[in-house]
């Protein structure tokens, strides 16, 4: 039994894990960077320790410091969340050496799946179909890659060997543009993972990104929790996920589930993991990679299966057998997640930094919000722009979309720009409603119109005017009553603050 778990992460996922621990009677230890002193995961944890300055390399990526904290405060286990150290086999190894349980797979499985080229080879040998691409294992030079590329054929993808989440990924349409793209892919991979190694994969056109959640215990039991459809992406970043996929039928679902279990078994996988597949128009599916950790989008699986994935991760790490057998896993209704990012969809999805001054969360039936932000939270440029996840469940996919529209409209985030209008436009899209989309849909066949109703524009104009008018009136009164010792601008600002 764990008495104390250190959560080596920040933001919504740190809060998510913290809640699972609290609901299991386990004490929680947060770690934080200087930028996150006031963050929710720090405030909600039982203990909290500073790691270092804001940049990840000096804080959340400091494996040594994190293990030192865990040792000093007597934590039994470390949950890495996603990102940061979650897929570093050396970190998992170091935990083990320090006598601390790493809540995740064995280092060997992380290593086998972490090197994307090795992973391709391993699962291919286990009979799992892979996307055609580079078949060698090991570092390849630009020259090697440029000479292999024509055999694979264009368009193709450059992908980071150490990668995931679209970082260090580039689409290549021709040999001519390949050298410069190789360079930028390597640079991005180097900065994201500390490893600039890349490989090539054929670009499967019109494909859908569908992944299978698996769970495995230390007793050889491996089950899958069905699929998540993640084809709504922009620049290889997932924006919306849903389960079940509108594209799969029971037959294909079962086949993919079985193959996913096989892939996990090929590396003696333990704990929660996800096998990502590409599925083409003809329903052929190809292994893409395995994420050897909790996914951002795990909640939609929780909502349709009823399994609390984080609690189950903890149980497995404690050496308990899986609570579920494959036949216990049913699909109940439909769930969808919108990732709420601090970015401006009307300005090229430019990240938006600043302070969140007010938020109103959508609530009520079928709505779950996983968030690490709050009024007063400062969005800094140091971390991911994802500030919360809006997750919705309903009995059918159609009801889920309608509920998501309702929840998006209720969600208020004031102070920074968010991509909520993107999600609203998506939920109104007929193609999306019809389930007719692939991974290129957002970038190629979807436009976010401002689509401003003239009636609503007029209402907005009237409301803005009335607020401005009230301010003018009150500011005038205020100035009459007081000596003005500061500039007008300051008075208005002060007045503003006073009336909040």
């Amino acid at each position: 039994m764990f008495k104390k778990v250190l959560i080596a992460n920040r933001g919504e996922i740190a809060v998510r894990i913290l809640r699972a621990c609290r609901e299991t009677g386990i004490d929680t230890v947060a770690v934080f960077s200087e930028a996150d002193r006031q963050a929710l995961h720090v405030r909600l944890a039982d203990e909290a320790y500073l790691l270092g300055p804001a940049p990840s390399r000096e804080s959340y990526l400091r494996a040594d410091k994190i293990i030192e904290v865990a040792r000093k405060c007597g934590a039994d286990a470390i949950h890495p969340g996603y990102g940061f150290l979650a897929e570093r086999e050396d970190f998992a190894e170091a935990c083990a050496n320090a006598g601390i349980t790493f809540i995740g797979p064995h280092p060997s499985a992380i290593a086998a799946m972490g090197d994307k080229m090795t992973a391709r080879e391993t699962v291919r040998k286990a009979g799992v179909p892979v996307v055609p691409g580079t078949e060698d294992v090991g570092n390849m030079s630009d020259d090697d890659l440029l000479s292999i590329a024509p055999q694979i054929g264009f368009p193709l993808l450059i992908k980071a060997t150490a990668g995931g989440g679209g970082k260090g990924m580039r689409e290549v349409k021709s040999l001519e543009e390949m050298p410069i793209l190789l360079k930028s892919a390597r640079r991005e991979a180097e900065s994201a993972f500390g490893d600039g190694n890349v490989y090539l994969e054929k670009l499967v056109e019109g494909a859908r990104h569908i992944e299978i959640q698996i769970m495995a215990d230390n007793f050889g039991n491996v089950i899958h929790l069905n699929e998540r459809e993640c084809s709504i992406q922009r620049r290889h970043q997932k924006l919306v996920e849903e389960s079940p996929s509108p594209f799969l039928d029971d037959d294909l679902r079962q086949k993919m589930g079985e193959v996913a279990v096989k892939a996990a078994q090929s590396v003696n996988y333990v704990n929660a993991g996800t096998i990502e597949f590409l599925v083409d128009k003809d329903r052929n599916f190809y292994f893409l990679e395995m994420n050897t950790r909790l996914q951002v989008e795990h909640p939609i699986t929780e909502l349709v299966t009823g399994v609390d994935i984080v609690k189950e991760q903890i149980r497995i790490a404690r050496g308990r057998p899986l609570q579920y057998k494959q036949e216990d896993i049913k699909i109940n209704g439909a769930a969808m997640e919108c990732r709420i990012n601090a970015e401006d969809p009307f300005n090229g999805f430019m990240p938006s930094t600043g302070k969140i001054t007010h938020t109103i969360l959508p609530t009520g039936p079928g709505v779950r919000v996983d968030t690490g932000v709050y009024p007063g939270f400062e969005i800094t440029p140091y971390y991911d722009p994802m500030i919360s996840k809006l997750i919705v469940w309903a009995e059918t996919r159609a009801a889920t979309i309608l509920r998501m529209r309702r929840a998006l409209e209720e969600y208020r985030i004031v102070g920074v720009r968010t991509n909520i209008p993107f999600h609203q436009t998506l939920m109104d899209s007929h193609r999306f409603m019809g389930g007719q989309y692939d991974t290129r849909f957002v970038e190629e066949r979807f436009a976010i119109h401002e689509n401003k109703d003239p009636k609503m524009m007029e209402i907005a104009a009237v409301m803005a005017t009335l607020v401005a008018h009230e301010e003018t009136q009150r500011a005038a009164q205020f100035v009459q009553r007081n000596e003005r010792d500061t500039s007008n601008w300051k008075w208005v600002g002060r007045w503003e603050r006073m009336h909040r």
């Binding site: 970082k167 930028s184 640079r187 991005e188 900065s191 994201a192 620049r235 090229g348 430019m350 990240p351 938006s352 930094t353 001054t357 007010h358 440029p381 140091y382 971390y383 991911d384 722009p385 998006l408 409209e409 209720e410 969600y411 208020r412 004031v414 720009r417 909520i420 209008p421 609203q424 401002e450 401003k452 609503m456 524009m457 007029e458 209402i459 907005a460 104009a461 009237v462 409301m463 803005a464 005017t465 009335l466 607020v467 401005a468 008018h469 009230e470 003018t472 503003e496 909040r500």
Partner: protein
């Protein structure tokens, strides 16, 4: 009190007649307008229809978050508009555009050169921040001038990067 309120390119002449009446472009409407105390939330009922909006200042404008959509409104009284138009006559159209870093970050690339003509929407600078590469684009046609940064350089928020004249 009469105001000229602009959203996007649309102008509204809004006259606040009294507490319950406003005219918009000459058409009088009845409004029941309330603040939710302690919050920048406003509720307006007009002709039975209910509207809730967050209205808050940003720079010199007002941001209106209405039914999940964000509108950016400029509200001026007649005097302010006269002054701005008079002042703006000289510089408004021909003014320089100064590209500033919207956030701290690393300059990854500058795909333009000084003296180069650019079109509206053309990428001027690629800035890495929040683990993303962000393309900063030109808001209008013009010629690139005064590039103040180099690829590989870290910049602070609002740092001047270059100008489009």
């Amino acid at each position: 009190m009469k105001y000229i309120t602009t959203i996007d390119d649309k102008q509204y002449t809004v006259d606040v007649i009294n507490e319950r009446h406003v005219s918009v472009n000459g058409k009088i409407i009845e409004v029941d307008f309330h603040t939710v105390s302690g919050q920048p939330v406003y509720s307006m009922i007009s002709n039975g229809k209910s509207y809730e909006a967050y209205v808050y200042p940003e720079d010199k404008d007002w941001q209106v978050l209405l039914h999940g959509r964000l509108y950016q409104a400029t509200v001026e009284d007649e005097r302010e508009q006269r002054i701005r138009l008079a002042a703006g006559a000289g510089t408004a159209q021909g003014g320089e555009f100064h590209l500033k870093a919207p956030m701290p970050g690393l300059v990854v690339a500058i795909p333009v050169e000084e003296g180069q003509a650019v079109k509206k929407g053309e990428v001027l600078v690629i800035l890495e921040s929040m683990k993303m590469q962000n393309e900063l684009k030109s808001p209008r046609d013009g010629v690139v001038q005064r590039i103040k940064v180099q690829p590989g350089e870290s910049v602070d928020q609002r740092a001047s990067l270059l100008s489009v004249v």
